[in-house]
Each structure stands twice: as structure tokens, then as C-alpha cells.
């Protein structure tokens, strides 16, 4: 965090060949795992979210009663809240695995935090 006493001539990471890391099987594996989770879940949550204003604008089906005077619109809306919390929780679990893979990749290329400028 303090960027004062780091030696300026330390340029280990500047000459670092990022294309080699990017092409390495371990980094590719990390990206594949990330994509496999992030792409479907982003499509899912944005889809369910955008569908909601469309349904309530163009149809009355969600006005039907769920229990008593609580209609399905409220159930859908709160469902989006629960969806958010569930996806956040799942992501936190997945991300722990991403962290492990990322660390492994960095280790493979002899990266040390101290080399940061």
C-alpha cells in the first residue's frame, strides 16, 4: 500500500511475458471454470430480472393470488431478492476455488507479491 520504499529498478514483472501465462494450461483452466459459472449465471439473473417488467407490463398473470391478498407479483419480486442472495452465496464458494487456481498459476510462474511495483 505504501509505494514509497520499493526500489524502482525492480522490473521483474515488466518484462514478464503475460502471453505465456495467458496461454498456460493452468490459467486457461481458471478462465474456463470462471466462464462456466459466470456466463450462465449472468444470463440467468439478467434474464429473470428483465422478464419481470415485461411480464407485469404486458400481462396480468402475476396479479393472481398466491396466498390470500398476496399476489404472484410480490412472490416474483421477492424471488429476485432471494435469487440475488443465493447467487452471491454460491459465487463466494466458487470464488474460493478460483482463488486457489489463480494462486497456483501465479506460483507456477514464480510470482511473488513483493515484486509488485
Amino acid at each position: 500500500m505504501k509505494d514509497s520504499k520499493k526500489p524502482i529498478e525492480n522490473e521483474t514483472h515488466v518484462v514478464q511475458d503475460f502471453q505465456t501465462i495467458e496461454a498456460s494450461p493452468s490459467f486457461r483452466g481458471l478462465m474456463r471454470k470462471k466462464k462456466r459459472f459466470l456466463i450462465p449465471s449472468t444470463i440467468l439473473f439478467l434474464g429473470l430480472y428483465i422478464l419481470f417488467p415485461l411480464i407485469i407490463s404486458y400481462s396480468d398473470v402475476l396479479n393472481a393470488s398466491f396466498i390470500g391478498d398476496i399476489s404472484w407479483s410480490w412472490v416474483y419480486a421477492l424471488g429476485l431478492f432471494i435469487m440475488t442472495w443465493i447467487l452471491v452465496t454460491i459465487y463466494m464458494k466458487k470464488a474460493a476455488e478460483f482463488d486457489r487456481l489463480a494462486e497456483a498459476t501465479l506460483k507456477e510462474f514464480n510470482y511473488k507479491e513483493e515484486n509488485n511495483l
Binding site: F27, Y49, D69, W74, L80, V88, D99, E103, Y111
Partner: protein, 511 residues
Amino acid sequence: MNPIVISLFLFIVAITLVITYFAAKKTNTASEFYTAGGGLTGWQNGLAIAGDYLSAASFLGIAGAIALYGFDGFLFSIGYLVAYLVVLFIVAEPLRNLGKYTLADMINSRFNAKKVRAGAALSSITIVIFYMIAQLVGAGALIQLLFDIPYWIAVLLVGIMMTIYVLFGGMTATSWVQIIKAVLLMAGTVIISFLVLMKFNFNIFDMFTFMKTATPHGADYLNPGVKYTMPLDTLSLMIALVLGTAGLPHILMRFFTVRDAKTARSSVMWATWIVGIFYVMTIFLGFGAAAFVGQDLIVSTNPAGNMAAPLLAQALGGDLLMSFVSAVAFATILAVVAGLVLSGASAFAHDIYGQIIKKGKVTDREQMLAARYASVGVAAFSIILALFAQSLNVAFLVSLAFCIAASANLPVIVYTIFWKKFNTTGAISAMVTGLVSAIVLVSISPSVMNPVEGAAIFTGNPIFPLTNPALVSVPLGFIGGWLGTLLSKESNEKKYAEVKVKANTGGFRQL
């Protein structure tokens, strides 16, 4: 003005000044000024994000909107919460891994071009100014109502307080003001919700049944469609809400206050729970206000419904609770505007002065000095604008800020992280197209042009039909970036490999 209000009000001012005093001692370098030295923990930053995000527009505005329009008011709550998934999945971690102080840092980690930095700084400043005027105008009107003092004194008061926090305490003071505000706001909301539910013997079904007959809207109150009747308008608003958050400079800046991507991630998790629970409770605030205050009194006190929550507090808990809620509203305003000043100042002092004019060759002292001058400048400029903007509709300024954030900032962020071919021309054209289309479309929309005289800034038929242009301007931002990229032959795969590795591993970053 009753003595309880004054003492609670002074109490909040005193606490925040004590915080600022201690924070000032810890604010000696530019990094400490902009990011509190990157030393916040996940829960601290999570609370601070909630404190930064739950503005008076959220607390007072949504409670009022639900009180007046029932289900339609709750749409805001949904959009504002789901937006955090965009922040978490797409923006937070790469931003922390690639940037140092500002959004422009992150985009420039790939392009290293002054024009790109200038574009990002410009859109950040534009968003901050619009958002800030909205907050200050809202704050002025609110404090005028709560404490019965003239509008201009109210604006000056808030303006001076926010300048003190930022000027002396930098990000440390700002963060702690936001954390304390978030705790106070949650406490106030829980108390009111509890009292509302108690009136219904904690039976949610009874509450809904009661609401069916509690307002002039009858059973429609519980269904969508009371306020938003144009499908495309509703859709457009929802898009701005969900995509805008991930481009708001004062929210993005919060991710630089933690040490790494892992902590950035856990702070979003904390924020999502806090913000989500708060938004669920907006139902009780809104329903309670409609049931126990009544729409007539809410509208006659403030036509936009902004006084619904304080009036509800009065109805349920008398002067004491009303005073507490007013004090919380005041703390809310202070926390949000302080965050805004700081993010505007960082765009000026770090991006424009430090990186563009001085080409990065500034000492830490010069950087600090510039940041402080910029804070005063941003604060003074927005106070002056707010004094003249008293009659402006606040809701439209906030929706404009969200729309610019979604149209100008989000496309360039997404392309920078995910698109190999994306280049300098693409980055500039994405930002310019998004920014210009959002501003132009809003200025010819029903928010600015209304056939009814006095209802908007100009009298006349709107040229563009949507109140919020996100449905058009966000795709335009993406198309602008795509076309710009294709029109230029430049491409740097080596640099993209570097950005990709840094963004996804958290290694090799500038500390």
C-alpha cells in the same frame, strides 16, 4: 423546532467531526486520502458501500413511492438490489486488480492513452455532478422541512459539512461516516418496520388485506401498473437501475479501499445482504405510511412523497422517533455527498491533474494538495449549482446519473475486461456515444419537455418518448465501442493478455 431534533442533529454533527479529527491524523499520503490506505476490511467496506448507496433518494424516496404507488414503488428496490450481482460478477474484482484510485486507472491499465483517461474522468465527473445536485437539492428541501430553516442555509450547511469531512479526513473519515450512517439507517428502519408489523400483529397476510382498502387506489395498490403504465418506459427504467450501479464512480471508488480482490468480493457480499434487507423493509415503511399517515397528508407535506418515512415515524413513535428518523436522514445525506465529493475530486486531481497534465510526475505532497483543492472545487461548484436548481425534479437527476453510468461507463468496463480486440478508438467512442446519447435523449425526453406548462424545464411535446433513455442509450454505448474498435486497425493482444492475467489472478498489480 423541538429540542430533541436539535440535540440529535448536533449529536450526529459531533460524532462525525470527532471521526474526522481522528481520520485527519491518519491522512498523510495520497493513497490514504483517496482510499484510506486500502486498509478496510470486508464488513467495514460492505457497510460503507451500503452507506454510500442508500441515499436519501433510497430511504425517503422509495418509502414515499411505495406509500403513494404501492407495488410500482417497490420496483426501484428490486433494481437497486439485483444491480449488485452485476457489480460482483463483472466489475468489483477486475477493478480492484487493475486500478489504483479511479475507474480511469482501470481502463487505462489497458490503453495508457490520455484521451481514454480524459474520457473516463469526464464521464465520472458528469455523473458525480448530476448525482450531487440531486442529493443537495433533495437535502436542502428535506432539511428545510425537517428543521424549518431556509433552503439556501440547508444547502450550505450540508455543503460545509461534506467539505470538512473530505478535506481533512479524506476517505477514512468518509468511510466511517458512511459506516455509522448505515448502522443508524438500518436501526431506524428496523424499529419502524417492527412498529408497523406490530400494528398488524405480525401477520403479513392481514397487512396485505388491510392495504387493499387503505388507499384511494383500492386493490390496484397491491398490483403493478399504478404509476408505470408504459411498458417500454418501465423496462428502460429497470435497465438503468440494474446496469447503472456498476458504473457509479462513488461506488466503484469504494473497491480501492480494500487490500485485494478477495476483500472487494466479501465487501459486495456484505453490502448485498445489508442493502437487500433494507429494501425488503421499504415495503413496511411504504405500507405503514400509506396506512397510518394516509396519502393525503403525505402528498400535502411533500408532493413527491419524500416525507412519508418521517411522518410515519411521528405517527408510530411520536416526536422522539420522528426526531431520530430525521437525524438519520440527515446523516444519510452527509454520508452520500461526502462520497461524491471524494470521487469527483479524485477524477480531477488524480486523473486530470496528476496523470494527464503532470503525466504522472507528481510528488505525493502535490497530489494531496491537488486532491484537497479539487475537493473544495467540486463541493463549491455543486453547492452553487444546487442553490440555483431548487425547483428541479430530483428524481430525474438521479435517473440521469444512473443512465449515464450505465451507458458511458459500463460498456467500456465490460469491453476492457472481456474483449480481446477492443482498442483505444473503441474505448473513446464507447464513452462518448454513451455519454452524449444519454444526455441528449434525456434533454428531449418527457422529463425535460412537457406539454403542461411548468411541469418540466421546457414546455412542449417531448421528441423522445421514454422518461429514462437507458433502453436506447446503453445499447448505443455498446455499439459505439464496437464500431469504434472495428474502424481502427489498432489492436494490442500482448497488452490484453497482461490485463486478462492481472484482472483474473490479482497478481502483478500496482500497490
